[in-house]
């Protein structure tokens, strides 16, 4: 599904990512862990095409993304779930859901979105940025599922949410996955990561320093927590 090959990225003179290579297979849920400043968000932005100062190769479903602008990448099946949740002030909830074009073979119909997210149905006429934090996160996920995006790029969807809401996000990601959606997830919450993901990459100072599966994470939890600085 996604292949990142020797990707480097920076801001001006500063290098943020160095020779990052990773792969995500279709139907997998993979997390990127690491301290703040490790380069996780920059990596997601580089894949989306929002960070332009990059070297290396990014392939989606065998297509080299090269210098494609973000909207072309979205149309190839990337679903963007930004760390600030991307709730518009000038669009209603319903408009936010129908704004993106349908890009994948299995878009969620609006009726299904509202069935899975009753809170969004109840507030469909409200300005998107008036939703609670948890509802905004649901909206960000629902928006890309309605697009039929095939690979979700989720930047810390659980940040600042209550355990109940974190659980709901996990349920939705697992459900999306059963429908063939692939997920690349930036996540600080190791416990949550093991409940939704198959594999984990640990980023430190712009490099991938570990590639782990769930058993590794459980066996080495204390060591990893110190890695993450938690």
């Amino acid at each position: 599904m996604l292949r990142v090959d020797r990707l480097s990225a920076g801001y001006g003179e500063a290098t943020v990512l160095r020779d990052v290579s990773l792969q995500v297979a279709a139907g997998e849920v993979v997390t990127l862990c690491g301290r703040n400043g490790a380069g996780k968000t920059t990596l997601l932005r580089a894949i989306m095409g929002l960070h332009r100062q990059v070297q290396g190769r990014i392939e989606l479903l065998g297509t080299d993304l090269g210098r494609l602008p973000p909207h072309r990448r979205a149309r190839l099946g990337l679903g963007w779930v930004p760390d600030d949740r991307g709730a518009y002030a000038t669009l209603s909830v319903a408009e936010s859901l129908t704004l993106p074009p349908v890009v994948g073979p299995e878009p969620w119909p609006l009726a299904r979105v509202y069935e899975v997210f009753p809170a969004l149905y109840a507030r469909r006429g409200a300005a998107a940025n008036t939703l609670s934090g948890g509802e905004q996160q649901m909206l960000a996920l629902a928006r890309v599922l309605r697009m039929g995006a095939r690979l979700l790029l989720c930047d810390e969807p659980t940040e600042g949410l209550s355990p109940l809401l974190v659980g709901q996000i996990g349920t939705i990601l697992r459900e999306a996955r059963t429908h063939g959606v692939t997920v690349l997830l930036v996540e600080q919450n190791l416990h949550f990561a093991t409940t939704v993901a198959d594999r984990h990459y640990v980023l430190a100072e712009g490099r991938i320093v570990e590639a782990l599966d769930n058993d590794d994470v459980q066996a080495r939890e204390h060591e990893l927590l110190s890695y993450l600085g938690i």
Binding site: R75, L78, P82, L91
Partner: protein
């Protein structure tokens, strides 16, 4: 009382012009982040377009009303493609230099061909009389202009809030990067949006032709007030431009009627300065949230 009503109607008519021009500026600024200092020149071209339609082509006001804005809209799209779109990656200073330079070029082209003297343009025959309401009489053309301006603003409002195009424009205006990442080609919309804003200025110009002496500098005088309107309302705010446009029109008309002449002249700018001190984002503007 009669005088008060008359002044109010005059204020509403002037406010209609301010609102239409400020609305175009707001839509353009929202989408392109370009402050179009050439907006007054396009308004002037609208009035000249109506004048030339009649003189060169024998086309009446009713033909000029739809035709001139469309032609100017196409001209605006051409200019956006040719030069304006280059501004997005440049320092805002270039925005000022380019669009102000365009103003000078357009004004001087018209001056060079037609001179600086005012060209009379008659009120269309059907709107020459007066309308009576009780004991009050209003010039029919002014009432028509007010009604047309309200309709034009309402139509733009409808377009922006009730159609898919409007939704895309709102999304791209508010969060261009996010909107691109959600699969919308934001760059594709900047050209038509600029053309649309220019067409609105042209429409205001056609409407102004029968009320004002058509001359190359007519836009330069008006646009200064319109920029004050835009600052008061909040740069890029649609509702702010329209409400402030009409509000300023009425306030100036009342000041002209009931206060020393100097008050009417400086009122708008005093209000602008006060708003800048009190609410720098404008009455209807939202504070920029850091991305």
């Amino acid at each position: 009382m009669a005088n008060f009503l008359e002044q109010t109607v005059n204020g509403l008519v002037n406010g209609g012009f301010y609102a239409m021009l400020a609305l175009g500026l707001a839509v353009i600024f929202g989408m392109l982040k370009v402050v179009n200092f050439a907006h007054g020149a396009f308004y002037m071209l609208g009035a000249f377009g109506a004048y030339l339609c009649l003189r060169e082509l024998g086309l009446s006001f009713w033909w000029a009303l739809p035709l001139v804005p469309v032609v100017l809209g196409v001209l605006g799209m051409g200019l956006e493609r040719a030069v304006i779109h280059r501004l997005t990656r440049l320092d805002p200073l270039y925005n000022f230099l380019l669009t102000f330079g365009l103003t000078l070029i357009l004004q001087d082209l018209v001056k060079w061909r037609y001179g600086v003297s005012a060209n009379p343009y008659e009120v269309p025959a059907a709107l020459r009389g007066t309308l009576r309401a009780g004991s009050f009489e209003f010039p029919a053309y002014r009432v028509f202009v007010f009604g047309f301006a309200v309709l034009a603003c309402a139509a733009v409002w409808w377009l922006l809030t009730r159609t898919r195009i409007g939704m895309v424009v709102r999304a791209a205006t508010e969060r261009p990067e996010l909107t691109g990442a959600l699969g919308i080609d934001v760059a594709r919309w900047t050209t038509p949006v600029f053309g649309f804003g220019v067409a609105l200025a042209g429409l205001a110009g056609v409407l102004a032709a029968p009320m004002q002496a058509v001359n190359p500098l007519m836009g330069a005088d008006l646009i200064i007030v319109v920029f004050a309107v835009v600052v008061i309302g909040g740069l890029g705010s649609i509702l702010g431009s329209v409400a402030t446009g009409f509000g300023v029109g009425i306030a100036v008309a009342w000041a002209q009627a009931y206060a020393p002449p100097v008050v009417a002249q400086v009122l708008v700018f005093v209000v602008m300065a006060a708003v800048l001190l009190w609410r720098p984002a404008g009455l209807f503007g939202r504070e920029e949230t850091p991305a």
